[in-house]
Structures are given as structure tokens and as C-alpha cells.
């Protein structure tokens, strides 16, 4: 296959003589060449030139892709930081999870917030997107499983405040993330990984401050809404028109 369409050296030519599969592939390749389509697109140039001129007049200098990725990272961290500060001011400092468990997990969530957009939006690192989604989902699972298991003796339904905080804190980063995502071609893993990373701002702030460490609470009011926001953002991106088709 590597030499298909190129002149064959004597060794390969000898191999082809005795290989039915290679003969068939070669003859199909050769035969298809008789059915070429030569298209001329020069008539399109005036229209392309007009629209390209307008685009260049609006934005003469191209900004590199990582400018917007860094801006999103900064926004993620800012939202998480402000939320954390607000929770602290409100006296919500009750996460009873032992520090050696809580801080490494918080570190992973912070990594997703800051480095996640840079990995997700990189044009040539498409292979790392699945890894990013898996890391994000593992971190979500970690939030539930590494919780303290204890909490106030209140019914679970009082966790609505956590749910609202999670969703509310995600709105701005997810909205900005969707705008950036629509600047390139739709890529399912990129959309999912970036949506989860953007929704992590609320997850981190809640994980640091929420006093309820029961697994059911963490799943229903922290991680569940986080996954839901990520999934909704993914579905929304699939329906949004792309401003460009660049990878």
C-alpha cells in the first residue's frame, strides 16, 4: 500500500506478479484514474476575495488559537476563585474530608480548569481529547468516592443550593467555551472535554466548601449537575453553526 501510485522497484514488481490482492488493488487504482474530475474554481475567486477582504478589514491580524484558550483558562480560574472566596465569606468552610485527600483532588480539578482548555482546543492534539474526557470523568468519580461520607442530618433535598451553585457558576465559562468551540469544526470529543472542563469551576468551589460529604449528596447535587451541564453544552455545540471548519 505504501508504494501505491508510485513506480515499483523490481522486488515489489516481482511480489505483485504472484499476489492476487496486490494485482487487484493496483488495477483498481489504475482504473479509477480514468474517471478523474477536473474542476475549475477560478470563477469563485471574486466572491471569495470580496468576503475575505471584509474579514481581513474586520480583523487584520490573526490571533493565535491559544490566546482564546488562555482567556478561557483564566476565566475558569477566576470564576472558581470568586466562588470560593464568596463561599468563604458566607462561612461555608465545612468540608470534613481529610486534607491529604481533599487537596490532591482539588489540584486535579484546578488542572482541568486551567490546562483543560489548552489541551482541548489545541489544533493538533486530537489524540489527547479522549484522555482528557477520561481524566475529567475520573475526577468526577473521585469527588463522590473520596468524599468524607458524613454530613449534616438534613434531608438530601436541601442540596438544591449546591445544584443551583454548580449550574450557575458554569454558565459564564461554558458560554465562552461554546463561543470558542464554534470557531472551529465540530469535533465531538473536543466539545465534550471542553464542556466538562468549563463546568468544573462550580465543582471545585463546591468540593472545597460544601460541608455535606455524603456520597448521594455529592452525586446528585455536585457531580450529576456537572455531567448534565457538560452534556447539554455538548448537545448545544452540535447544533450551533460553525464559524469556520478548521480542525
Amino acid at each position: 500500500m505504501s508504494r501505491l501510485g508510485e513506480p515499483l522497484d523490481s522486488t515489489l514488481a516481482e511480489h505483485v506478479k504472484g499476489c492476487l490482492s496486490c494485482q487487484e488493488t493496483l488495477s483498481t487504482h489504475e482504473g479509477l484514474g480514468k474517471a478523474g474530475v477536473a474542476a475549475s474554481a477560478s470563477a469563485l475567486w471574486p466572491a471569495v476575495a470580496k468576503r475575505a477582504s471584509a474579514e481581513l478589514a474586520r480583523k487584520p491580524k490573526a490571533s493565535r488559537w491559544w490566546f482564546s484558550a488562555l482567556a478561557l483558562s483564566a476565566l475558569n480560574v477566576l470564576v472558581a476563585g470568586l466562588a470560593s472566596f464568596s463561599f468563604h465569606r458566607l462561612g461555608l468552610n465545612g468540608n470534613p474530608t481529610p486534607t491529604p485527600v481533599r487537596w490532591p483532588l482539588a489540584g486535579v480539578l484546578l488542572g482541568l480548569l486551567f490546562a483543560g482548555p489548552l489541551f482541548a482546543l489545541a489544533p493538533r492534539r486530537r489524540s489527547s481529547l479522549l484522555a482528557l474526557v477520561l481524566i475529567a470523568l475520573s475526577a468526577g468519580a473521585g469527588v463522590v468516592w473520596l468524599g468524607s461520607g458524613t454530613g449534616p442530618s438534613e434531608p438530601l433535598s436541601t442540596g438544591m443550593g449546591c445544584l443551583i451553585s454548580e449550574v450557575g457558576l458554569s454558565l459564564l465559562p461554558v458560554g465562552f467555551g461554546l463561543w470558542i468551540l464554534s470557531g472551529s469544526a465540530f469535533h465531538p470529543l473536543r466539545a465534550l472535554s471542553l464542556s466538562l472542563c468549563c463546568a468544573t469551576a462550580g465543582l471545585l468551589a463546591l468540593d472545597l466548601h460544601c460541608p455535606d460529604g455524603r456520597a448521594a449528596h455529592l452525586f446528585l447535587f455536585h457531580v450529576g449537575p456537572w455531567i448534565l451541564v457538560g452534556a447539554l453544552a455538548f448537545l448545544l455545540r452540535a447544533r450551533l453553526p460553525s464559524r469556520t471548519f478548521a480542525p
Binding site: 488493488t25 487504482h29 478523474g36 469563485l44 493538533r124
Partner: protein, 206 residues
């Protein structure tokens, strides 16, 4: 860095008159050099890239989505080059990037069309051949080859079209599709094998 102020891209009468021809000083420049010049603000470089690749891209899109929408998607692809020039990796090759854009434009088109508007392979039905598309073989052969290619799964179809008709190397196809070179070879091999079955007897009878 060059000037940030773009030059006019209004159609130059001379370039329209000499369609397909590049200015003498651009003939030796690689696509990558032209793209870097464009990223640095030289809009003439974009015109040269268009003249070099627009015909091939339109031919590729004709095979992927049919002749009716190929010109619109060709325009959209080149406008994407303009709008997303900040996403071009300065160490990458231009041609695979451009084909990735065109492939994405075709996928987006198929994804957004209602299923009842398309044939099973995602084309508009009864796509007429537009004037200016010169056929090199007889229409019957074209139609049969076209129909056979339509029956391939998308990943095999894209690999075969890029390799056979656009003459991209396997490495370039791999770069355009974001997969490994060996994966592209497997797809192309399966595609050629399936085409051989579908087109059995066609060339023997020519």
C-alpha cells in the same frame, strides 16, 4: 512580523484574466511560506494559495458531496482559511490542513441536511455537473465510478478520494484526518478492495 494592514483582496483584473496562473515570484514559494506570509498580513499570498488549490478542493468536494453544493463549500473552506488562520500550526503542512477543512465542511453539510434531502451517501440528489468541470472519461464510466464510491463507508471513501484523485500521500491524508498513517492505509486498502468488487468488469470492457 510583516505589516498587520492587509492589502486589498478585490479581484484584480489581471489575475482574473490569467486565471490559474500565479505571479512569477510566487511560483517557487511553498504553500507553507505563502500561508505564513498570509498569517503575517500579506493577503496576496492568500490569492496565490487559492489559485493553487481551489480547483483541487472543488474537485474533492464534488466527489464527496456532489456538484451542486461543492462550489459553496469550496468558498466556505477558503473563508475558513482566512478566519481560522490563527489555528494554522506554523510547523505543519498547509495542504493536509486545507483538506481537513474541506472534509469538515463536507461533514458539516451532511450533518445539517435533513436525511430526506440526501441520497444514502449524503449527497444532494441529481447533482448536475456544472459548466467548467471537464470530464476526462465518458459519462457512463463516471457515473458508475461515482456510484461505487458513494457506496463506500465515509472513512474509506475519504481515504480513497484523497489518495487516488487528489494524489495526497498517506502521510498527508493521516495528517488531514488526525489518524495514524497505518489506519489510513487500512482504510484505503479496504476501499480499493470494495471498489474492485463493485466495479468488476468495468475496465476490462473499455
Amino acid at each position: 512580523m510583516g505589516s498587520a494592514r492587509p492589502q486589498s483582496l478585490k479581484p484584480d483584473p489581471a489575475s482574473v484574466r490569467n486565471q490559474g496562473e500565479e505571479p512569477l515570484d510566487a511560483r517557487d514559494e511553498s504553500d507553507e511560506t505563502l500561508m505564513l506570509r498570509f498569517c503575517d498580513g500579506d493577503s496576496r499570498a492568500f490569492e496565490q494559495l487559492f489559485q493553487r488549490h481551489a480547483g483541487a478542493i472543488q474537485g474533492y468536494l464534488v466527489r464527496l458531496v456532489g456538484a451542486t453544493v461543492a462550489p459553496d463549500l469550496t468558498q466556505a473552506s477558503f473563508l475558513s482559511v482566512v478566519r481560522a488562520r490563527g489555528r494554522f500550526d506554523r510547523s505543519a503542512r498547509f495542504k493536509p490542513w486545507l483538506y481537513a477543512i474541506a472534509t469538515n465542511a463536507a461533514r458539516d453539510f451532511r450533518r445539517r441536511r435533513r436525511p430526506d434531502e440526501l441520497t444514502s451517501s449524503g449527497e444532494l440528489p441529481d447533482a448536475p455537473v456544472r459548466p467548467g468541470q471537464e470530464t476526462q472519461a465518458d459519462e457512463r464510466m463516471q457515473a458508475r465510478v461515482h456510484s461505487a464510491i458513494e457506496q463506500l463507508p465515509e472513512n474509506q471513501r475519504v481515504a480513497v478520494i484523497m489518495h487516488r484523485f487528489q494524489e495526497l500521500s498517506f502521510a498527508e491524508i493521516a495528517e488531514a484526518l488526525g489518524v495514524s498513517e497505518s489506519a489510513v492505509k487500512v482504510r484505503a486498502h479496504r476501499g480499493y478492495k470494495r471498489l474492485r468488487e463493485l466495479l468488476r468488469g468495468l475496465w476490462e470492457s473499455q
